[in-house]
């Protein structure tokens, strides 16, 4: 492996040398997003896509986000990287509030600098690439935007191609000449072009064949180790999320319902929705191990236009109680570092928790105005 051209790697050298910063790299605090919709000639409504979502991601870790389609996981990704303006709440990246009250959409020079450190890999490797630009042009484009010299652009493009396992000659190819796996490698190379600290992978391997999917997962893991990257890894595939993530956040209808270390979440799911999700996942049964005895989830996802009162999952929950319709469940911590929003787990002395701080440590929880 060659060393990256030193002049262009801004965040890279620092992050690999520096000890983990004392604060999480990314904090998402009570972020909400509503999309206005027309229900009739005079009637307006709003789809609550993400509702008071909170979590934090430590430097060099992977935060996995799982949930069914329509649970708001992709919206959450877009809110974090600033592709959508945030309605309420804060996204704090490296201790800096990304969202300034006057500029909900990140456009200024400061935002440009922040977004240099946050990049995204999209689901469909084909539509995410400009069909009329060569691979070299695609990868160099973010560097062009950020004013890199041509020489730097060329050198770094070559280095990036090598990093993602492509040949230098691939720079002159066009997207249609590449296979799906190769295209996703180009997407990853482009996301890494500005040496970001955080890479948001939104269903990055979902469109790939299984044999190629493993290649790309291995590549993402290798890059994380070599470049000290932090990932937000979004997928509907629970097995892939478990393999990739240190911490997993389960979302249902715009809200985080459970957040925990990946190992513990899969071994001991607490929220009824998480249990149902795990029980529904098809398992390649070679060992003959017994399947968890959880009935499949009945009913349909309620409309986000008019989410159920109280707990949003109560309409499909096998253990719903009277209180579930009345008040939204508070976040509790039934075991260290394992947080869940469900009335089955009554709030103990540690009331007023958020989903934000999941790790077991003595770090103070910060207010959103910090």
């Amino acid at each position: 492996m060659t060393t990256p051209p030193a002049t262009v790697a801004t965040g890279l050298d620092k992050t690999t040398v520096e000890k983990p910063s004392p604060l999480p790299l990314l904090e998402v605090i009570n972020v909400s997003k509503r999309f206005p919709v027309r229900l009739g000639p005079l009637k307006r409504g709003a789809v609550s896509a993400v509702d008071t979502l909170s979590f934090s991601v430590e430097q060099g870790q992977t935060m996995g986000i799982v949930g069914e389609s329509g649970c708001g996981k992709s919206t959450a990704a877009r809110l974090v990287v600033g592709l959508l303006p945030i309605d309420e709440g804060d996204v704090i990246f490296e201790g800096v509030n990304v969202r300034s009250p006057h500029q909900p959409r990140h456009t200024g020079a400061r935002e440009k600098e922040i977004h240099r450190n946050m990049q995204m890999v999209f689901q469909d490797p084909h539509s995410a690439l400009n069909p009329r630009a060569s691979v070299g042009e695609i990868i160099a484009f973010p560097m062009k935007v950020h004013g890199f010299s041509r020489q730097d652009q060329r050198e770094r493009t070559g280095w990036l191609l090598e990093q993602v396992g492509l040949h230098g000659n691939h720079a002159s190819y066009y997207p249609h000449q590449l296979s799906g796996g190769q295209r996703q490698r180009v997407n990853i190379a482009r996301a890494l072009a500005l040496s970001p600290k955080l890479v948001v992978c939104d269903e990055a391997v979902s469109a790939l064949d299984k044999s190629v999917q493993a290649q790309v997962l291995n590549l993402l893991k290798d890059l994380q180790q070599e470049l000290g990257l932090t990932y937000m890894f979004i997928s509907h595939d629970l097995n892939v999320v478990e393999y990739m993530s240190d911490t997993v956040c389960v979302m249902y209808l715009g809200q985080a319902v459970e957040i925990c270390d990946a190992d513990r979440l899969y071994a001991n799911p607490l929220h009824p929705y998480t249990r149902a999700l795990l029980a529904s996942t098809p398992v390649l049964d070679v060992t003959g191990a017994p399947r968890p005895d959880v009935p499949p989830l009945e009913g349909e996802l309620p409309s986000p236009l008019d989410p159920p009162s109280g707990c949003r999952f109560r309409t499909r929950c096998p253990s719903a109680m009277a209180i579930c319709a009345e008040e939204a469940p508070a976040v509790t911590q039934p075991e260290p570092g394992h947080r869940v929003a469900c009335h089955l787990y009554p709030a103990g002395p540690d009331a007023g928790l958020s989903m934000r701080r999941h790790a077991v440590d003595g770090r103070p929880e910060r207010n959103s105005n910090a």
Binding site: E68, S69, S179, G180, G181, Q182, D209, K210, S211, V212, Q213, A214, Q215, L217, N218, K221, H236, D237, L238, N239, V240, E242, Y243, Y266, A276, L277, A279, S280, T281, P282, V283, L284, D285, V286, P296, L297, G299, E300, L301
Partner: protein, 346 residues
């Protein structure tokens, strides 16, 4: 080594034939070729198998392996320019050689298909009832009201909650899982004996997928239907299939019972797929298959998996391996399979 590669004998990879009855579906040496600028592209390459009624054949393959092309060929949905050879015997009648009119009568009556994307399979401007009634009346002499009653019955069969209300709904008013149930209901209109399902759960969430898979299992048991279930996901195939055919570059490279394929895979590609699949609780790196599937218009002369195979030797590049039987009902197209068996036994 061989100077002129012997023309590969097209041995049939199929389960041990049942003695008591003829198979519901027998595919013999089926080949489908599409014209392209670079010559004929062979999407389905000398495929043979048999399916008994009441069984589910899982066809496993990646995109471009020819699994969808095979289903469309069976149903006669390929464009006129396509070159098709071989036989598809449904209850002893050849679907390939019959006239277009005859085939149209078979389609929907004896054999029907469920497509991957439930949104595009339904017409957005007609209600569920209109679409069901149209199909019912096409295949029967029922009156409009009788057809409507039958439509309701079908929605009940596919376990749609409050079916009376759903009949009046347009596709956009239904969720993805509900739409796929409607598509399945339309496929069931005339109690087909053979159901072709092309990735029917791929576009669905896992919780919905689990219930649609339950529905397929139910159809198999209750109606004794033969089902060909095409998927790229081995775990999904393992949930539903009795037998599995693994397709690669248009050929069936391995065929066997679910147990054979999952517990003693013989073809390096099948093994690769098993290893690339992330299992629950997995921490070690998945063993990825290097490279990508070959261009079907420019297939290598030998085994099409040879360029990605870690055990390939010179002979693999020369001729397409013939199908060999490693155990009753378990066939494989791999020169190294015999060797592999020994290593497994040891």
């Amino acid at each position: 080594m061989l100077m002129t590669a012997p023309r590969p004998t097209v041995a049939r990879i199929s389960p041990a034939p049942c003695t008591d009855d003829t198979p519901l579906l027998a595919v013999r040496d089926l080949t489908t070729q599409f014209p392209t600028r670079h010559g004929w592209l062979t999407a389905v390459n000398h495929i043979s198998y048999e399916l008994q009624a009441g069984r589910v054949l899982g066809v496993l393959g990646e995109s471009g392996s020819g699994k969808s092309a095979m289903l469309r060929t069976i149903l006669g949905l390929q464009p006129k320019s396509t070159r098709i050879a071989g036989e598809v015997l449904l209850d002893g009648r050849d679907l390939i050689s019959m006239s277009a009119a005859e085939r149209e009568d078979m389609r929907g009556a004896s054999v029907s298909m469920v497509f991957q994307d439930p949104m595009t399979a339904l017409d957005p401007v007609f209600t569920v009832e209109q679409q069901l009634v149209e199909t019912i009346r096409r295949h029967s002499t029922l009156s409009r009201t009788e057809a409507a009653a039958r439509a309701l019955e079908l929605l009940q069969t596919v376990q749609i909650p409050s079916p009376e209300r759903r009949l009046k709904a347009y596709p956009f008013e239904l969720s993805g899982g509900m739409r796929q149930r409607v598509v399945i209901a339309i496929a069931l209109v005339s109690n087909p004996r053979l159901l072709l399902a092309d990735e029917p759960t791929t576009a669905l969430d896992v919780t919905v997928q689990a219930r649609v898979l339950d529905l397929f299992r139910d159809l198999k048991h209750r109606m004794g239907m033969g089902i060909i279930f095409v998927t790229h996901d081995l775990a999904v195939a393992a949930e539903i299939a009795d037998d599995i055919a693994v397709m690669y570059a248009g050929r069936i490279v391995e065929f066997g019972s679910l147990d054979d394929i999952v517990r003693s895979p013989q073809h390096p590609y099948t093994r690769g797929l098993l290893e690339a699949n992330i299992r629950p609780g997995q921490h070690e790196r998945p063993e990825a298959i290097p490279g990508s599937p070959p261009n079907l218009a420019k297939l290598p002369p030998g085994c099409s998996f040879a360029p990605r195979c870690h055990v390939a030797e010179a002979a693999c590049w020369e001729a397409v391996p013939a199908a060999t039987t490693v155990a009753p009902g378990h066939g494989v197209r791999c020169l190294k399979a015999a060797v592999s068996v020994e290593t497994v036994v040891r």
